[in-house]
């Protein structure tokens, strides 16, 4: 399994764009990169998933360089309600005989201030 490294914490202010970078130097060819958001006392919630280049949905963008050894989650114009822990995961997709590769690292605690 590819190990991931993220900053432990980040601070931001309302209305700013926040970029959280995750390093995954040992990513495999069939690995996808997935980001989750977790609020206290709740289960993580899927944000976005990508394989390469750029993926955008209604809540975030995911930037993946050509070597795929890192990825950046971009949250546009954050609000107080975006204060949460963000996890980056690397795991294979369409893996026949899947081995349950859903290993979470420590995540990044984002604090958004007024």
């Amino acid at each position: 399994l590819a190990k991931t490294t993220q900053p432990i914490s980040m601070d931001s202010y309302e209305g700013q764009e926040v970029n959280i970078t995750c390093s995954h130097n040992n990513i495999a060819t069939n690995d996808y990169i997935t980001w989750y958001q977790q609020f206290p006392s709740q289960g993580p919630r899927f944000i976005i998933q990508g394989y390469k280049t750029k993926v955008t949905n209604e809540v975030a963008s995911l930037f993946i360089p050509a070597d795929r050894k890192s990825s950046t989650l971009s949250l546009p114009r954050v609000s107080l309600s975006d204060t949460a822990v963000y996890y980056c995961l690397v795991s294979p997709r369409d893996y026949g005989g899947s081995q349950g590769n859903l290993i979470f690292g420590k995540g990044t605690k984002l604090s958004v201030k007024p």
Binding site: Y32, T34, Y36, S41, Q42, G43, P44, R45, F46, Q49, Y87, S91, P92, R93, D94, Y95, G97, S98, Q99, G100, N101, L102, I103, F104, G105, K106, G107
Partner: protein, 111 residues
């Protein structure tokens, strides 16, 4: 869409008592299923995962066990709880690496 039902939401149990937490899955078949524990302010620690009925892999040695008697049912058990078993327990599922879906969690306090 896939949904995980996990209960109870909170549980207070005395040391030495047994434990049984159950989660059930709706909206998909043959999912991978996972049990996590999260201590206050910490990350998610993977306890067990299952890729099919009766197939359980343990990630952390402890006094907990897991079982998967049916495709969409995953059970976490203990014969005798320890104080250190307190925490937030989450059941999760996925299929072939697509987005994972989580239950709402169980806050277990062992007293």
């Amino acid at each position: 869409s896939q949904t995980i039902h996990q209960w109870p939401a909170t549980l207070v149990q005395p040391v030495g008592s047994p434990l049984s937490l159950e989660c059930t899955v709706e909206g998909t078949s043959n999912p991978n299923l996972y049990w996590y524990r999260q201590a206050a302010g910490r990350g998610l620690q993977l306890l067990f995962y299952s890729v099919g009925i009766g197939q359980i892999s343990s990630e952390v040695p402890q006094n907990l066990s897991a079982s998967r008697p049916q495709d969409r049912q995953f059970i976490l058990s203990s014969k005798k709880l320890l104080l250190s078993d307190s925490g937030f327990y989450l059941c999760a599922g996925d299929r072939d690496g697509a987005e994972a879906f989580f239950g709402q969690g169980t806050r277990l306090t062992v007293v």
